[in-house]
C-alpha cells in the first residue's frame, strides 16, 4: 500500500500543521511516512507545497513522481491547480473553495472553480463557513482534512487521536473545536 498526497496553499495558511495531523495519524496507524516541506523564503506569502508519502513499505524518494499522487489537498483553489501535473489519472483533488488574493493578477474565481469542477474527481470545500460553524475561523485546515478523511488509508478515529496529541497543550476546548471541524469536513460530499 502506498498513498501519496500533494499538500498546497499559500505561506501562512497552516499547510504544515495540516500535514502534521495527517502524518501523525498515519504513524499511529502503523505506516511509514515521509514528508517534504518548504521552509525559508517561500513561506512568506508565496505558493507553498509539501509532499506527503504514506506507505507500508520502503519509501525512497521524498518527492512524489509526477502523474502518481493519489490526492491533491489544498488550502487554496488556485494553488490546487498548480500541482495538477502530480495528480494520478484516478487521483482526487480536494481544495478549499475560498481564494486568497494577494497577487494583482488573480484570475476570476468562477473560472478557477469551473476548472476544478471539470476534473474527473474533485471536491470544493467551503471550509471558512464550516470552520465558523465548528467554532473558530482558524480551523479551516481541519475542515479540509475532514473532507479528505474518507479517502485516507486510516480512520477518523486515528485522525482525532492525532489532533488530541498535537493540540492537547492548547486545552480541551480547542481540541473539541478541531474534532468538530473534522466531522463537518467529513460530511462534505
Amino acid at each position: 500500500m502506498k498513498y501519496d498526497i500533494i499538500l498546497s496553499g499559500v505561506g501562512g495558511q497552516g499547510v504544515l500543521s495540516l500535514a502534521s495531523v495527517i502524518a501523525s495519524a498515519a504513524v499511529e496507524a502503523g505506516f511509514k511516512v515521509r514528508q517534504s516541506e518548504v521552509h525559508g523564503m517561500s513561506q512568506r506569502g508565496g505558493a507553498v507545497m509539501a509532499h506527503m508519502r504514506i506507505s507500508d513499505g520502503e519509501i525512497y524518494s521524498d518527492l512524489i513522481a509526477q502523474g502518481t499522487a493519489d490526492m491533491i489537498l489544498s488550502m487554496e483553489p488556485l494553488e490546487s491547480l498548480r500541482y495538477l501535473p502530480w495528480l494520478a489519472p484516478d487521483g482526487i483533488l480536494i481544495t478549499s473553495a475560498g481564494p486568497l488574493v494577494n497577487i494583482p493578477d488573480y484570475p476570476e474565481l468562477e473560472e478557477v472553480h469551473k476548472t476544478i469542477n471539470a476534473l474527473p474527481s474533485a471536491k470544493l470545500v467551503n471550509d471558512r463557513e464550516l470552520a465558523k460553524e465548528a467554532g473558530s475561523s482558524r480551523v479551516g485546515n481541519m475542515v479540509i482534512v475532514g473532507a479528505a478523511s474518507s479517502h485516507l488509508p486510516f480512520s477518523m478515529d486515528q485522525l482525532k487521536k492525532a489532533v488530541a496529541r498535537l493540540f492537547f497543550r492548547k486545552g480541551e476546548k480547542i481540541v473539541e473545536v478541531n474534532y468538530k471541524a473534522l466531522d463537518l469536513g467529513n460530511k462534505v460530499s
Binding site: 518548504v38 521524498d62 513522481a65 498548480r82
Partner: protein, 534 residues
C-alpha cells in the same frame, strides 16, 4: 533504542547529541537552520551541550576548532554559502591535528529554494582534502553524523556532512542508538600541530597528504559506498550520489535490466570501486544531486572505453534538483502521463508580510528616489531582499552577506551619486561591520540604512547576536559622525519625517547611517502568543 519522527536537520542534531558533542555553533541559513534550533532547544532543557548562534560562519567554525583543541567534540552548522564565509578557517583547520571530533554540517540548496547559488560543498571538502559524508535519508543523517565524529578523531581532520534541502526539510522516522558520553577536557599538547607557521604548516600539509591514502582505504570499504554487481548485465551500470540514490531506487522497479549499481555516500571518491564497476559494464549512467563532481573525474580528458551519461552531456539537467521524473530519460524510461490545468495560472512569489517594517522603509526610499535625478540602492541577504520584487522593486544589487555596504562604497567611489546601502541588523553584524569601517576610513559618500527588525527573520526569527539597542553604539564606535547617525521608527506614521531625514543624509557628502527600527511582525506575533499562553 527509540524511534523519532524528525527532519533531516534534526536527525543530524540528534546524531551529534548521541555522539557525545560538547559544543554547537552556527549561523542561521536555510536549509541548515533547524540543526542548531534543535540543539538549542535540547540544551535549554538539559543544560548540555553548549549551543549558541555565532556572528557568522567563520566565527562559528573557529569556535568549533577551539573546542576540538580542548579535546571535546564540536558541531558547526551553516548553509552552503556560509562555508564561503568560513573558508579561511575551513581550509586551514584541515591542516591542524584535530583532537576532539569536529563535524561541519553544510546544507546545500540545489534548485536555489532560498539561496543565491547552488554550489556543491563536496568540492570544498575535496579542496581541503578532508572527508565528506552524504546521507540520503534521516536514518543515515543520524548515523553518519555519529560516524563523522569518529572519523574526525580517527584521521584527525574536520569532517563535512553534506545535506541538501530535500533531506534537511523532510521528515521521517529514525531509530537511535546508545548515546556516547562527551570527551573529557584534554587539551592538545603539541603546539607545533596547532601553530600554522610555514615550517609547521609544511609538516602538517605533508601529514595531511599522507593520510589521504588511509581515508581512501576507508571509503573503499565502508558500507556507505555499496557496490552491487549484476554479472548478467554487461551493457550498463549506474552510479548515484546523494539523493540521486532515492530517485534511482524510486524508478528501479521499472528497469527490466537490473543494472549494476554503485552508490557513493562517503568521500574521498572510492576510485577502485568505480573501476570495478567500469570493468563490468560498457556504459555508466551517473546521477548526482549537485554539480557533476564524480562525473567530471570519471570523464577525465583523454578518451576512455566506457561510455558515460550524466549532466555533462545534458542527459540529466545540469541545473536545479534531481527529481523522480527528470532522471527517467537517461534511464531509458518513458515520461509519465501528466495532466495540466486548462487555465493559465499566475505565479505567486513570496512577499513581505502585511505590516512589515521593511515595507515602510522601502516606501520611504522609493519616494525619495523619485525626487532625485540620480540614485543607487544596493541591498543584502534577508527578508528585505523581497523588496526587489513587485510592487517595490527598489534594490539594484543583492550579492552576498554584507555586500550592500561594500558594493555601494565601490559604486560611490566610481562616481555614482546618492548611493544607499540597505542591510538587515543580523546581516550587518554578520558581515557589514568591516564594510562600514572601510567607508569610515575613506569618508565615502554613502548612506547606509540598517533595517533593524530586531531578529533574524528570514530563517524563522532567531535572536540577533547583539540586542538591537546596542547597534547605535557599535556604529558610533567606528567613528560615524554623531550628526549623521540617526535612529528612526520604521512606521507609516512617521513616513514624511523619515523621508525628510533621508533627503538630508543623502545631501551629506560623507558616511551617514540611518537605523530604521521596528520589530518584525512575525516575531511580535510569536512573542504575544507566548505571553498569552503563559
Amino acid at each position: 533504542m527509540s524511534e523519532f519522527v524528525v527532519l533531516g536537520d534534526e536527525a543530524v542534531a540528534l546524531g551529534a547529541i548521541h555522539g557525545g558533542v560538547s559544543s554547537c555553533y552556527g549561523y542561521p541559513g536555510t536549509p541548515s537552520t533547524e540543526v542548531m534550533e534543535y540543539l538549542l532547544e535540547y540544551s535549554k532543557g538539559k543544560g548540555a551541550p553548549f549551543a549558541r548562534w555565532s556572528s557568522n560562519e567563520k566565527t562559528a567554525l573557529e569556535e568549533g576548532l577551539g573546542t576540538s583543541f580542548a579535546g571535546k567534540r564540536a558541531i558547526v552548522t551553516m548553509k552552503h554559502v556560509g562555508l564561503n564565509v568560513a573558508a579561511d578557517a575551513f581550509m586551514n583547520g584541515a591542516l591542524l591535528d584535530i583532537k576532539g571530533g569536529l563535524v561541519i554540517v553544510v546544507a546545500d540548496d540545489p534548485g536555489m529554494h532560498s539561496s543565491q547559488n547552488e554550489q556543491d560543498s563536496r568540492f570544498f571538502a575535496d579542496f581541503a582534502k578532508v572527508m565528506c559524508l552524504e546521507p540520503v535519508n534521516q536514518q543515515q543523517a543520524y548515523d553518519m553524523t555519529r560516524e563523522a565524529f569518529d572519523l574526525s578523531e580517527k584521521f584527525n581532520i574536520p569532517v563535512v556532512v553534506r545535506l541538501v534541502t530535500r533531506l534537511s526539510h523532510s521528515r521521517a522516522s529514525i531509530v537511535t542508538s546508545t548515546p556516547r558520553a562527551e570527551n573529557p577536557l584534554d587539551k592538545a599538547l603539541n603546539k607545533r600541530d596547532w601553530i600554522l607557521l610555514p615550517a609547521n604548516a609544511r609538516r602538517r600539509w605533508d601529514s595531511l597528504l599522507t593520510r589521504q591514502k588511509e581515508m581512501l582505504e576507508y571509503t573503499e570499504f565502508t558500507a556507505s559506498n555499496p557496490l552491487k554487481i549484476n554479472k548478467e548485465n554487461t551493457s550498463r551500470g549506474v552510479i548515484t550520489t546523494g539523493l540521486g540514490y532515492n530517485y534511482f531506487m524510486e524508478n528501479a522497479s521499472e528497469l527490466a535490466d537490473n543494472p549494476s549499481h554503485l552508490h557513493i555516500g562517503a568521500y574521498p571518491i572510492p576510485e577502485d570501486k568505480i573501476r570495478a564497476l567500469a570493468d563490468c559494464v560498457d556504459e555508466i549512467v551517473i546521477l548526482e544531486e549537485g554539480y557533476p563532481f564524480v562525473e567530471r573525474l570519471l570523464r577525465g580528458l583523454l578518451p576512455i572505453s566506457t561510455s558515460i551519461k550524466g549532466k555533462m552531456d545534458d542527459e540529466v539537467p545540469m541545473q536545479g534538483e534531481l527529481t523522480p521524473d527528470n532522471i527517467r530519460p537517461v534511464l531509458g524510461l518513458a515520461p509519465r502521463t501528466v495532466s495540466v490545468s486548462s487555465m493559465e495560472l499566475p505565479g505567486r512569489p513570496p512577499q513581505l508580510c502585511m505590516g512589515c517594517p521593511h515595507d515602510d522603509t522601502f516606501r520611504v526610499i522609493k519616494e525619495v528616489q523619485a525626487e532625485l535625478d540620480e540614485s543607487t540602492v544596493t541591498s543584502d541577504i534577508g527578508c528585505y531582499a523581497l523588496a526587489a520584487l513587485p510592487p517595490l522593486e527598489v534594490p539594484e544589487t543583492i550579492i552576498c552577506m554584507g555586500a550592500s555596504i561594500t558594493a555601494a562604497k565601490g559604486a560611490s567611489e566610481a562616481g555614482l551619486n546618492n548611493v544607499m546601502a540597505v542591510i538587515g541588523d543580523s546581516t550587518f553584524l554578520h558581515s557589514g561591520l568591516t564594510g562600514l569601517v572601510d567607508c569610515v576610513s575613506c569618508d565615502t559618500d554613502i548612506t547606509i540604512i540598517i533595517v533593524d527588525n530586531e531578529t533574524t527573520a528570514m530563517t524563522g526569527g532567531q535572536d540577533t547576536i547583539l540586542p538591537s539597542s546596542r547597534l547605535e553604539n557599535v556604529v558610533r564606535g567606528f567613528g560615524v559622525e554623531e550628526a549623521h547617525l540617526l535612529t528612526i521608527p520604521a512606521h507609516r506614521k512617521f513616513h514624511e519625517e523619515n523621508k525628510e531625514k533621508l533627503r538630508k543624509e543623502l545631501s551629506h557628502k560623507g558616511v551617514s547611517v540611518i537605523i530604521a527600527v521596528r520589530e518584525c511582525v512575525e516575531t511580535a506575533r510569536k512573542v504575544k502568543k507566548k505571553e498569552s499562553a503563559s
